[in-house]
Subunit: 347 residues, 2 copies
Amino acid sequence: MPERVSDIGEFGLIRRIRDLLNREGMRSERLTLGIGDDTASFLPRPGYELLVTCDCMVEGRHYLPKHISPLNLGRRAMALNISDIGAMGGRPLYALISLGLKADTLVQDIEEVYRGFLAELNPFGAAIIGGNLTQSGNGMFIDITLIGEVEQGRGVRRSGARPGDVILVTGYPGQAAAGLNLLLHAPDEAKLLKHPLVKIYNTPSHRARLGEAIAQGGWATAMIDISDGFLGDLGHICEESGVGAELFQEKLPISEELREAALMLQRTPYDFILGDSDDYELVITCRPKDVAPLRVISERCCPVPLTEVGRVTDTAREMTLIFPNGERRAVKPSSWDHFRLTHGLIT
Amino acid sequence: MPERVSDIGEFGLIRRIRDLLNREGMRSERLTLGIGDDTASFLPRPGYELLVTCDCMVEGRHYLPKHISPLNLGRRAMALNISDIGAMGGRPLYALISLGLKADTLVQDIEEVYRGFLAELNPFGAAIIGGNLTQSGNGMFIDITLIGEVEQGRGVRRSGARPGDVILVTGYPGQAAAGLNLLLHAPDEAKLLKHPLVKIYNTPSHRARLGEAIAQGGWATAMIDISDGFLGDLGHICEESGVGAELFQEKLPISEELREAALMLQRTPYDFILGDSDDYELVITCRPKDVAPLRVISERCCPVPLTEVGRVTDTAREMTLIFPNGERRAVKPSSWDHFRLTHGLIT
């Protein structure tokens, strides 16, 4: 009989997790105290700012267990947070994990979730240094706080975009939404788990390496990662910078996979690229002269293309899509909203 | 009609919270970026270690809405985390709040929960710098990550107790458990909310000011706050320090209120003081010569007595209770365990 959380109890589970982290996790030399005391402690690096973010995934709301393995669930939850640190130009250092668990959860599934966390953290030498375990009512939740660092004054905010700046985006926004739609509308889900877009949805790649390199070079005026859809997050830049944006429809990057999936789903690729989609790609603005060095650095440390898609304008908060025939159409983000959800996992 | 979360949506709620924090919260001069970007950022103080802890409260598991007001719920959730920072000898600086909410939650209740957070943070000049809002299934949860600081090398751990050290405790452990029991077993709950022990349970006082002063003086060899009961947390010190403990029964501090409540509940005060109880008092060990300065500092910055209750021994992990007639009895913590709970809120 495989062990369940209720068999070994809270303290038993803490010991198991601690052992797993000791065996498979990284050690940080600036960590002065890890799991097992009232708090963890570490010595910050002189000359660096600390970055802090937290993000939570709730069963039935952000994921369904039948659609994602425990390992990939852990990877996804951690990648979301790493993406936020990367979008500031930082590097992840320390994670705290707060889990809400059902008593009948399999211990081996929890261990797999932690292996997923480590799969994302280990490449950065980042470590899990604390957390909290609690029993939750009828569904699991994973709440991660991630601490990172960036050289003092080099963090890239949402608020620095200026009229005339170029708008760039990494990869192919919309792919994650298409992957999610395939999962939700397909008759045979199990087969679909290997579909490239479903994989992109389930285990998104963050662009934190690129974000860090961009911050070091000082080339970006604003940067954000895509969790509310390309338009939604570009909208956040416009809002915080007090600017607008013009986008050229024919420049929007569309992958072959997205084109095919849209066809299958009887939609257009633009429904996905301009709608809600959590792709964890980067939206970047920069002065025109900095596009060239950005391209060089992107080719060096990012496996997907960097595409110039538009310009920052001085029409505050207005976003316009320009078609090849010159037609201009005002566009608004459909604004993913967890409390007024229409396209969510559970509707 | 009072507004509900579903009326104003996630982004509306974020704005409301941001406004409330701007009006009623504190500003930190080392904070370089607050709520509203991919991450918050701050400049750590040179010569200080950072402390990080997180703690989660789940509706139906750690509290019942009918037993606690939204304001007190916020205070309680934050006090638990401040207590952890204080038990290391640190001072709280920054909090991140992750909330799982039902769509029909009243916006004014959420605002009251945040006022509760601020009631605990403001006296330290500490600020809420980020967080996450998500819809949860059938119950609310509040997950707080709290960051604090302590002068480098001055943090007080669980692992430093040595044989011959004196064991001290602040206040009256067991009072919180008695308060909880009164709440759960009383016919008229509403009247009970003003009972002093119920108040102690609902809005526990942390001893973070004392913890910080003790760390600065360097008097403690080990320190922990009581969240798993006095014996449970003394047991954590024994475990991490590789030592044992002798406790003198007649020295255990019992308040008049606890004595009366025990009588009402047909139990003995020792059931509560030696059982599970989350009192957020401090258990401290120190060398005998340091008891005197500890008493002085405690009288200066702690409103409850500091009581010498026993000695650290070299019998690893064994705790013994010594009765006035010389009888010795081995005692074990009943080990509060969220997954194998027998005395919990919901059984």
